[in-house]
Symmetry: C2
C-alpha cells in the first residue's frame, strides 16, 4: 500500500517583527522542529484526517467534513487540511481514498508557524501521493492558499519558510528571498505560555505611530537598519554582532510597547546566563522569546529560561524545508 511521509519545519522571526508591518524587512528562520504528515492509500474512496496531538479527526467526503473526534473544534482546526484535500481532488481526481495523519512537535499559537508547517507538510504528502513530481513551488502555493482560510491576509512568509527552509528575507510587497547563508545558529526558544492576539498588538503599534508619527517612524527605520546590518553579520558568521543586534531590536520592540513582564523575565534570564542576544519573537505581549547562544552556553541558557518560568525548546536553524520520505 502506497504511503508517503512529509515533514516541514517551524519558523521563528529572528529580526524585524512589527517593523515589517510598516514596510521594513524581516529575517525569518526555519528551525528544526517539524510537523510531520503521513498519507496512505485506502482501499475505499474515503478520506480520513487525524491529528492525535490536538485530538481531532474526521472524514472528508463529497466536499464536506464530518468530525469523528473533536466536533466543531475538529472542523475548525482541520479546515486548511480540508482545503488542501479539496484542491488535490480537484486537480488529480484520484481513484482512491487516503488516511492523513498529522503529528507535530511545534507549540501551537506561539508564533512559531505551527499552522503553516502543518499545511505545508500536509500539502506535500497529499500532493506527492497523487503526483510524485509535484514541485515545491506548487506545494507552497497550495499551503499558502490554505493558510489564507485561517489567517487574515497572511504574509506568506510562514508557508515559504516551511517549504524552502533556511533563512528568508521578507519585506512587504516584495518577493520573499532565500538568503544563501551558511552559518549554524544555535537557538533557545522560551515560551511564556501567555496567549496574545497578534491583531491587537499590530493595532497597538499602529495607534502609537498615529499618535507619534515622527518618533515611531524613526524607531521603525532603526529596526530596518538592524535587519540590513544583520545580513552582514550572518554572512560573516559573526554571532556576537548578531546577538547584539537582537538585543537592540528587542529594546526597540519594547519602545513600541509590545513586550510584557513574562517575556522580559525570560529574556533577562537568557542574557544573564550568557546568551549573545535575546529578544521577543513574533507579535510579543506573550508567546515566545528567542535567544542566540554559543553552543557551549546553550544548556546554561536553556536552564536559565526554564528556571525563569519558560517552556524551553532548544533548536537551531535548519536549511531543510520540506522533507519527503517514501
Amino acid at each position: 500500500m502506497k504511503r508517503i511521509k512529509a515533514s516541514a519545519p517551524a519558523k521563528v522571526i529572528l529580526l524585524g517583527e512589527h517593523f515589517v508591518v510598516h514596510g521594513e524587512p524581516a529575517i525569518v528562520l526555519a528551525i528544526n522542529k517539524r510537523a510531520t504528515v503521513t498519507v496512505e492509500m485506502r482501499n475505499d474512496q474515503k478520506i480520513f484526517i487525524e491529528s492525535k496531538n490536538i485530538g481531532v479527526s474526521g472524514f472528508f467526503v463529497n466536499d464536506e467534513f464530518h468530525p469523528q473526534r473533536g466536533g466543531e473544534r475538529a472542523r475548525e482546526k482541520l479546515k486548511p487540511i480540508c482545503a488542501i484535500v479539496k484542491e488535490a481532488i480537484r486537480k488529480y481526481n484520484p481513484g482512491f481514498g487516503v488516511n492523513i495523519n498529522i503529528e507535530s512537535s511545534i507549540p501551537i499559537g506561539a508564533g512559531l508557524g505551527s499552522s503553516a508547517a502543518v499545511s505545508v507538510a500536509s500539502a506535500s504528502a497529499i500532493f506527492s501521493i497523487f503526483n510524485p513530481k509535484v514541485s515545491k513551488d506548487a506545494i507552497f502555493k497550495v499551503a499558502f492558499d490554505a493558510e489564507k482560510i485561517v489567517h487574515e491576509t497572511p504574509s506568506g512568509v510562514d508557508p515559504a519558510v516551511s517549504t524552502y527552509g533556511g533563512i528568508l528575507w521578507y519585506c512587504r510587497s516584495k518577493p520573499i528571498r532565500r538568503l544563501k547563508i551558511n552559518v549554524d545558529l544555535p537557538l533557545v526558544i522560551g515560551n511564556t505560555g501567555k496567549e496574545r492576539s497578534t491583531g491587537k498588538l499590530v493595532a497597538k503599534v499602529n495607534e502609537l505611530r498615529r499618535r507619534y508619527p515622527l518618533i515611531v517612524g524613526k524607531i521603525i527605520r532603526a529596526g530596518g537598519e538592524i535587519v540590513k546590518r544583520s545580513i552582514r553579520a550572518l554572512r560573516e558568521g559573526d554571532l556576537e554582532t548578531l546577538g547584539e543586534l537582537m538585543n537592540i531590536n528587542h529594546e526597540l520592540l519594547r519602545a513600541l510597547g509590545v513586550s510584557c513582564r513574562e517575556l522580559e523575565e525570560l529574556i533577562y534570564a537568557a542574557r544573564k546566563a550568557g546568551a549573545l542576544g535575546a529578544k521577543l519573537t513574533g507579535a510579543g505581549g506573550g508567546g515566545c522569546m528567542i535567544a542566540l547562544a554559543h553552543p557551549e552556553k546553550i544548556i546554561d541558557v536553556a536552564y536559565a529560561i526554564k528556571e525563569a518560568g519558560g517552556e524551553v525548546l532548544v533548536t537551531e536553524k535548519t536549511d531543510e524545508g520540506i522533507i519527503i520520505e517514501k
Copy 2:
C-alpha cells in the same frame, strides 16, 4: 552681624540624556530638593568652610585651603567652593572673613546635580554678602566656572537649572533656554544606590554608535523627536502623553545599553503602581530613575519603588532657582 542664606535646587533630566551628547536637545527640571548655604561675617579675616552633611571643613587662607575635618577628602570636596571664595575675594577684596556653612538634602553622585546646586547656592550666598545686587547671571557664571574644576567639560545645564529653576531646554552648542511652562509635575525619584561612571556610559554609547552608525543614529534622532513632542505635551499640561514619551525614551536608552537590572526593577514597580511614565534619569547604569504620577498616585508609586529596593525622593518641579533669605 551680617548673615545671608541662599539655596538652590537640584535638577533632574526629564528627557534626552545621552541623546544630548549627540546633538539632540534635552529637557531638564529644577526639583524642590535644595542645597542651602549660609554665609556670615566673622570678626577676623578668616574664611571657614564647613559641610556637616559630608563631614568636611577647613580654613581658606591666603589662597590655600587648610582642612580641619576630613583631610584630603575635604580639600577635594570643597575645591569648587574654594574657587568661588577666591573669585569673590579677587572681585570685592572685602575687609572681613566669613563662615560658610553648606547643607544639602540632595543625594550625592546620583545624577541630581548636587554638586552644581551646592556651587550655585555657595556663589549666591558668598557674592551676595559682598554685593547684595549681584545678578543671577553673574552667580551662574561663577558657579559654572567652579563646576569646570570638578567635572570635565560640564555642559553648564546643571548650574543653569540650579540658578534659574523651572524647565530648561538644552542642546549642545546652543544657548540654554528656559521654557515658560506653567504645569505641576509631581515626580518620584528612585535611587538605586548603585554607583556608576557617567564617562564610561557616555563612552559605551559612543562605541555602539561607532559600530552601528545607521542604527544608533536613527535611535538618537528618535530621542530628539521625543523631546520636541514633549514640549507640546508640557505646554498642554498633558501628563499622560508626557509619561508615555518618558517610557519610550527609556526603552531607547535601553537600546543604547545604559540601563541595568536595578533601574529596571524600580521602573517596572513604578509603572505597575500607576505611574504615567518612568525612566532612568542621567547617565544610567545605576543612579536614579524618575517617575511621573498623578498626585493621587504619588504615594502608591513611592511605596512601590521603596518596596522594589529604591531610596525614594518624592518631589516636584520647582520654578524657584536661587532663593536668598537675608
